[in-house]
């Protein structure tokens, strides 16, 4: 099927500052694309460009197979939910939701029917006659969703719709949005700087930094094979351990040496490291470092390390040690015998290891 949204070599400048550089994205029907990145990286700007609220400096933009590069927002067949919700303050909830249809000259009967549908779907029937000022944050969020849903567009755009909600409500609304996506089968572009939101909602994640796309992929791809140090560090909590290491080639594989706080370096063997340059950054997620005896199999290797800190976190306990001059975190089971100041044998699961070049940050394997 043709992509619903296709962005080709999009550039966006404000005056002489480049905000977005060479953006290329394609979204299939039914995709849930999440744009994620640190504050100020251009996520909202990109969303505004897709919506047609900001003119683009270069490149092209197709929605539903049609060239929309110079088409005004109202003709792009999109609906958008804003970070501040942007509800019309003097209109009732019902009027807020039907305003778009009214402007487009949809007849009153259809308006009423669609309003009833959406109100039912979002369970906001009792609120319809209220003003936005008389609603709670979560209710406003629903109304903003309702205003988008009622339009039945080709593409939904969400700009951090949950960032104004408290933690509990955010989790609730997150699963509601996910459900909505599944029942509607709609195509969505969703901006967030919360990487957990990105992982749980997306079928496809775009990681951005400084107006440049760092990686596009499924949540699993982004999580397991980050394209560079930035993505590796940004996605996942606690973050991936990024440990400076030396690779020694020795014929049938490679030795990897990691300096330790005390004593000689740790030596690991990984055939995947063959052919890598001498200096690398080794990336291993906290859950890929376990207590010896709790993880076994091919690619799992053990080494003794000094435990610096033990942080119980309910179901897991995070054990902190120092390797390669960096603090590393291992995710261990709650009843671990680790205690601060004593040494413990760690099991490193090298099946999911990533190697990065220290200078460029690019992935090597």
């Amino acid at each position: 099927m043709a992509p619903i949204l296709e962005i080709q070599t999009l550039f966006k400048n404000y005056g002489s500052t480049e905000i977005l550089k060479d953006i290329n994205i394609a979204i299939e029907p039914g995709d849930f694309l999440v744009l994620v990145g640190p504050s100020g990286c251009g996520k909202s700007t990109l969303l505004n460009c897709i919506a047609g609220l900001e003119p683009i400096t270069g490149g092209s933009l197709h929605i539903g197979g049609k060239d929309m590069t110079h088409v005004s927002p109202k003709d792009r067949d999109i609906a958008m939910v804003f970070q501040s919700y942007a509800l019309y303050p003097t209109m009732s909830v019902a009027k807020n939701i039907t305003f778009g249809m009214k402007v487009r000259g949809v007849d009153a009967a259809t308006q009423d029917r669609k309003l009833a549908e959406v109100a039912n779907q979002l369970q906001i029937e009792p609120l319809l006659q209220r003003r936005p000022g008389q609603l709670s944050g979560g209710q406003r969020q629903r109304v903003a969703m309702g205003r988008a849903l009622v339009r039945d567009p080709k593409l939904f755009l969400f700009d951090e719709p949950l960032s104004n909600l408290d933690a509990k409500l955010r989790v609730e609304m997150r699963s509601e949005i996910k459900k909505l996506h599944q029942t509607l089968g709609a195509t969505m572009v969703y901006v967030t700087h919360d990487q957990i939101e990105a992982m749980t909602l997306a079928t496809k994640i775009v990681v951005m930094k400084g107006g440049v796309i760092q990686q596009i992929g499924t949540p699993a791809e982004i999580y397991n094979t980050p394209a560079n140090l930035f993505v590796a560090d940004f996605m996942g909590s606690p973050a991936m351990n990024l440990i400076p290491a030396k690779v020694m080639q020795n014929g049938g594989g490679a030795r990897i040496e990691i300096s330790r706080g005390q004593g000689g370096p740790i030596v690991l063997h990984d055939p995947k490291a063959e052919g890598l340059p001498e200096d690398v950054i080794l990336g291993l997620r906290p859950e890929d470092i376990a207590e010896a005896g709790f993880r076994a199999g091919e690619g799992v290797q053990e080494a003794e390390c000094l435990v610096d800190m033990v942080e119980p976190a309910g179901a897991d306990t995070y054990v902190v040690s120092e390797l390669g001059g960096k603090q590393i975190t291992a995710r261990m089971h709650a009843e671990t015998s680790a205690s601060a100041g004593s040494s413990l044998t760690f099991a490193f699961d090298l099946n999911k290891v990533s190697y990065f070049a220290p200078e460029t940050g690019d992935r090597l394997n």
Binding site: P73, K74, S84, A86, T90, F99, G100, R140, R147
Partner: protein, 298 residues
Amino acid sequence: MMADLSLNQSASEANFGKIALRWLLYALLGLFALYYLLPLFVMVTTSLKSLEEIRTGSLVTLPREVTFDAWKTAWSGACTGIQCEGLRPYFWNSVLLAVPAVFLSTLIGALNGYVVAQWKFKGANLIFSLMLFGCFIPFQVVLLPMARMLGLMGIAGTIPGLIFVHVIYGIGFTTLFFRNYYVTIPSELVKAAKVDGANFFRIFWSIFLPLSLPIIVVTVIWQFTQIWNDFLFGVSFSQAGTQPITVALNNIVNSTTGVKEYNVDMAAAIIAALPTLFVYVVAGKYFIRGLTAGSVKG
């Protein structure tokens, strides 16, 4: 127990101090109010006295005999030069002048403010600065060029001519008021409406105007007071039949024929001031609200 008592005592002392301070404050405020009200009192009482009584009595006594003759004369009989029709025709001149001029300058100011605040274009800031500059040009400077302008347009000496002058001169202020109000409205509102399919005027009409009551009131009061009380433009750009009330009032007070009718002068002055007073009383509370209105809570 002792400590308790002394505590109570000092508390009541503090209380007493507070009350005393409060009364002092009221007394002071009362004094100020009196000071401001005294001229009005003199005007009202004088306007209700006969000429005879004014000559013989003191300025601050109440009228022995209340008479509305002076008011009648001021309204429909006093002489402004050779004509003796009172203020009535000029009052209507001022109404015909002020109402459209206030309406137009407010409307244009609202549109300008909306554009400058929410539809930024290249040079928007420059244009706004120039408009602000317009607020600070002294009236006297524009008199000659404006007279020439009105002549060229063929509306010199007419009420539409005066309306034109006041609208032009008012736009700077009205634009400033509306612009400052509209920049506090989140721009995402405009974006949302654009996505919903609304155009420039629809967004103004359906979203911005309904939000604007406080600032409209402020602007209307400001403009109405300015235009109604204006003397310089009125005297410069009007002819015999089109003079506004301020000019007529001046003519009544300054016409030198016969004895000085203080009661008529006072009555005329009050009549001339009544409409602005009325506007303040009716819309005053919105005025304060509008001046302090901050951001719009979604």
